[in-house]
C-alpha cells in the first residue's frame, strides 16, 4: 500500500505523458496535436516537482522555526520550462495560422493530399 501511494504520482505522470504522446501521434488536427504536446510537457513538470517534494516540508522560503523545506532546484528548472514552453507553443500556433492561410486547412490528412496533388 505504501509502495502504491509512494509511486502514484509517478504513475499518473507516465499516464499523462502517454496520453499526450498518443494525442500527438494519432490525431490529425494540428491544434489538437499542440495541446497533446502541452499535456506531455505538464507531465514532465510534475515529474520534476514530485521528485523535489519532501514529506512535511514547507515551500522553500526561508523562515524562522521551519526545519524542513522542499527542494528548490526543481522549482527553478520548471519555472524556466513553463515560460519557455509558452514561447514554443506560441510559435507552433503561429505556424498553424500560416499553414491555414497557405493550405486552407489544419487537418494533417488534407495537407498531405494537397501536397501530393501538386
Amino acid at each position: 500500500m505504501e509502495f502504491i501511494i509512494g509511486h502514484y504520482n509517478y504513475w499518473v505522470v507516465i499516464f499523462l505523458m502517454m496520453v499526450g504522446l498518443y494525442t500527438v501521434i494519432s490525431r490529425g488536427n494540428l491544434v489538437k496535436k499542440i495541446i497533446g504536446l502541452n499535456i506531455f510537457q505538464v507531465s514532465v513538470f510534475f515529474l520534476y516537482i514530485s521528485m523535489g517534494t519532501v514529506e512535511g516540508g514547507a515551500a522553500p522560503i526561508i523562515a524562522e522555526g521551519v526545519k524542513v523545506y522542499s527542494n528548490p532546484l526543481p522549482h527553478v528548472l520548471i519555472l524556466t520550462a513553463i515560460v519557455v514552453g509558452v514561447a514554443t507553443t506560441a510559435l507552433a500556433l503561429a505556424l498553424v495560422v500560416r499553414i491555414k492561410e497557405t493550405y486552407g486547412t489544419i487537418e494533417e490528412d488534407e495537407i498531405h493530399n494537397l501536397d501530393h496533388s501538386l
Binding site: G6, N9, I35, N38, I62, V76, T89, A90
Partner: protein
Amino acid sequence: MFDVVVDIVLLTFLATTSVAIMRMTNLFAIVMLFGIFSLLSAGLFVVMDAPDVAFTEAAVGAGISTVLMLTTLALVKRSKAPYYDEAPKIHTAWLPLIVVIVTGSALIYGTWDIPNFGSADAPSQTHVARFYLENSLPDTGVPNTVTAVLASYRGFDTLGEVTVIFTAAVAVMLLIGGKRPKSAPKTEDEEAQDEA
C-alpha cells in the same frame, strides 16, 4: 496525510481531464478543458510545496496559453458550420496505441527503483539542494530560495531564457505579423458551397 489525499484526488482529476481532451473533437471545448487542466496543475503544484511554479502555471499556462489558443481558433476556423470540429480521422489507431503502451510499460518499469514520493533521504534531496537552502539568505538577502537561485546564482540561465522568449516573439512576428493576403484559399467543399 491530508496532503497525500488532496494530491491523489487532484492527480486523478488531471488524468480524467487529459483523457477527455484526447477523446473530444470540438476544438473549443478542448481548449477550455486545457485551461481547466492547467488550473488543476497549478493547484497540485501548491500541494507539492511549489507556490512559485503554481503562480507561473496559473498565469502562463491557464491564462496566456488559453488566450493564444483561442486566438488561433478564431484565425483558423472554418467558414462553415461546425466551426471548430475536427474532421473525422482516417489514421489507424493501432500503431500509436502499441507505441504508447510499450513506452508506458518501459517507463513504469523504470519507476520501481524511484524512492517513495516525499521521502527525505532520496538522492535528489541529499546533494546540492541543502547548500542553496543554507546559503541563499546570507549570500543574496532574498528569503525565497527559488528567486535567489533563479535571479542570482543562475542569473545567466535566466538571461538565456529571455533570449529564447525574444527569439520566439521575433519568429511569431515574422510568421504572422505584417502584410499577408487577407483570405485563405478556399477548400474544395467551401467552393462547392459558394457555387450552390
